[in-house]
Symmetry: C2
Subunit: 150 residues, 2 copies
């Protein structure tokens, strides 16, 4: 069997994050999904729940980090990759830094609220960043959501 | 009865945040406490629980924001003030921005992890910031904790 390239693997896990994002959409939440992968295994999945939980902190990434830490029984995710459909905000970037994630992979840029604009040095220096994975699909979900809201 | 000055009120609520911080210390957590005040009433109290919950997101401020939103039944805290014993980190500053808190009051600076260094523009432009309230007491608790840990 041919080994998957890094990009193929990234796309595979981003598709799972997109399933989560679509579930958020179905629940009338801003459609952002996240998964945490550790040694090739998905250990956490989550989607944005800020409306249902009436809680601005209930972003997909925050819940995925909390769930992954609970699964591993440790608060540092140094061997994990976080996949998220949209560029993390400042809050989530701060959480990613505290959790010391090895790598983050995101889909669409968020020029308005993304951490790269407000806190470009917020992440841990060892955290590797990959952007643009399935970016168009990730962005299309967001556009669809906000068009419906108008 | 004489009306309390803003500073007297700030010190009064910071003392409650310090009680929370001391409780964190008793539980062997980094001693940071927070309270949320709405129209003169305390509506949430919390302290750092990252060790007990095995969760880097369980900072005092995050829990206080979650609890205040649950209490009010709305995710925006536009009429609230957050008191916290130590300068918020980037993650917490991001959450404070999303929650649109009217005002934050903190005690000790955190030059290493505080948001002012990494994300000085992370807060909502309308959020008023007051630092230095009971700073020495807030900082002393932190020093005591880290000296014991050495």
């Amino acid at each position: 069997m041919e080994e998957k390239s890094q990009q193929q693997q990234d796309e595979q896990f981003m598709r799972l994050a997109l399933i989560e994002a679509r579930q958020a959409m179905d629940e009338d939440e801003i459609p952002i999904g996240a998964v945490v992968v550790c040694k090739g295994q998905v250990i956490a999945r989550a989607h944005n729940l800020t409306e249902r939980l009436t809680d601005v902190t209930a972003h997909a990434e925050m819940q995925a980090i909390t769930a992954a830490s609970a699964y591993l029984g440790g608060k540092y995710l140094t061997e994990c990759t976080l996949y998220v459909t949209v560029e993390p905000c400042v809050m989530c970037a701060g959480a990613i830094a505290w959790a010391q994630l090895a790598r983050i992979v995101y889909g669409a840029d968020d020029e308005k609220r993304g951490f790269r604009r407000y806190a470009p040095t917020a992440l841990h220096p060892r955290t590797n960043i990959q952007d643009g994975i399935l970016a168009e699909e990730c962005a299309a979900l967001m556009r669809e959501f906000f068009q419906k809201k108008r």
